[in-house]
Symmetry: C2
Subunit: 200 residues, 2 copies
Amino acid sequence: MSEIKPNRGESTRQEIINAAHDLFTQQGFHGTSMRQIAKQAGMALGSLYNHFPSKEAVFEGVFIAYHPYRSVLPAMLEVKGDTAETRVRQAFDLMLQALKASPEFFNLMFIEIVEFKSAHLNELFMRAFPLGLQVAGYIFDDPDRLRPELSLPIVMRSFLGLFFGYYLSEIAFGPQAPAVFTDHAAEQMVNIFLRGILVE
Amino acid sequence: MSEIKPNRGESTRQEIINAAHDLFTQQGFHGTSMRQIAKQAGMALGSLYNHFPSKEAVFEGVFIAYHPYRSVLPAMLEVKGDTAETRVRQAFDLMLQALKASPEFFNLMFIEIVEFKSAHLNELFMRAFPLGLQVAGYIFDDPDRLRPELSLPIVMRSFLGLFFGYYLSEIAFGPQAPAVFTDHAAEQMVNIFLRGILVE
DNA sequence: ATAATGTGAACGAACGTTCGTTCATAATAT
DNA sequence: ATATTATGAACGAACGTTCGTTCACATTAT
């Protein structure tokens, strides 16, 4: 699709992606214009089309560049610990760190779901799923304590739910109950999850 | 903002809201035009402005009309059961039913978050929060078994997370792992949550 | 060394289309 | 008759994309 050589213009391409990322995450895809992107990137409108064939191609570039699966999943394979509990806590910490580093990433997901019907997301997940399974296999591996009736996909879903729930309830409750959003809350939520999946 | 009398044109107003709901949830706010709404509602473009002063007012109308807090929360106050466990299971069932009845509701939330920076959501939550607290107080009331170190807001967050996680992991995993999305999965996830918040 | 040529990037005017909104007027209901 | 609702043409602004052109710089030829 994008047959443009990234020889010298690679840095320009990155500037476009960064500018577009800021605008897309704050206004949505259809709420952002190519003129705004050009202005934010400090270049002329026509220049954008030297690097991307279309507006949608710009979004794809942003979505791939900012997706954390390349950074967070591999980092999870590096956590140390003898028990599932210690590894899960570290893995959740990694996710929270990534969330704090770029909380607007979820907005890209939401744009994907609503404005693109998850078209790019599905493609990306097909690439990330095997690695995700591998990570889950490592993090949750603890035959002595992991409840035997739980399958790995279900544990993965609950773990992801822990994360989604932490973030989305922050959005939903946010301005009304700020006191709820301490690190203490995150810790308690992990505790609930861990008690739920482990014996004893 | 909407100072238009809903005397006889109330049913027309509802048709506009229904048409706009279908389009907004599938294309987003900026991705949907007033002409599309008029066509879908089976009326002329100008007629829309007899019932709504602006496009954003149409969205507000949709968002309020389709928000489940008026229906789901009161229903939760009606669940029976002697223990928190039985009430929580029923409450989660109510949420899943509402989700299955209109899975596109989340899209309205996402549009809100991305395209309106949660402007209407915050206002709506201020209205819903007291009732939400009341519901949580009833559902989770079980001093003998609810773990004493858990505060009600944190239990609420985890419960909402259970729900968000169920839905969002369905979107994320969806096409790749359909086998995971049985009622069995939902039940297992509730089990994890319940073991997490209860003693024994 | 100098000139000639090639090339990707930047530029902003211009294209045709669509946008949200307004308006004069027609139809309908009370 | 009077008030309410429906209509679609019309408005100016903004949209994504294309276009011809300019420019800086690398390569090649002389």
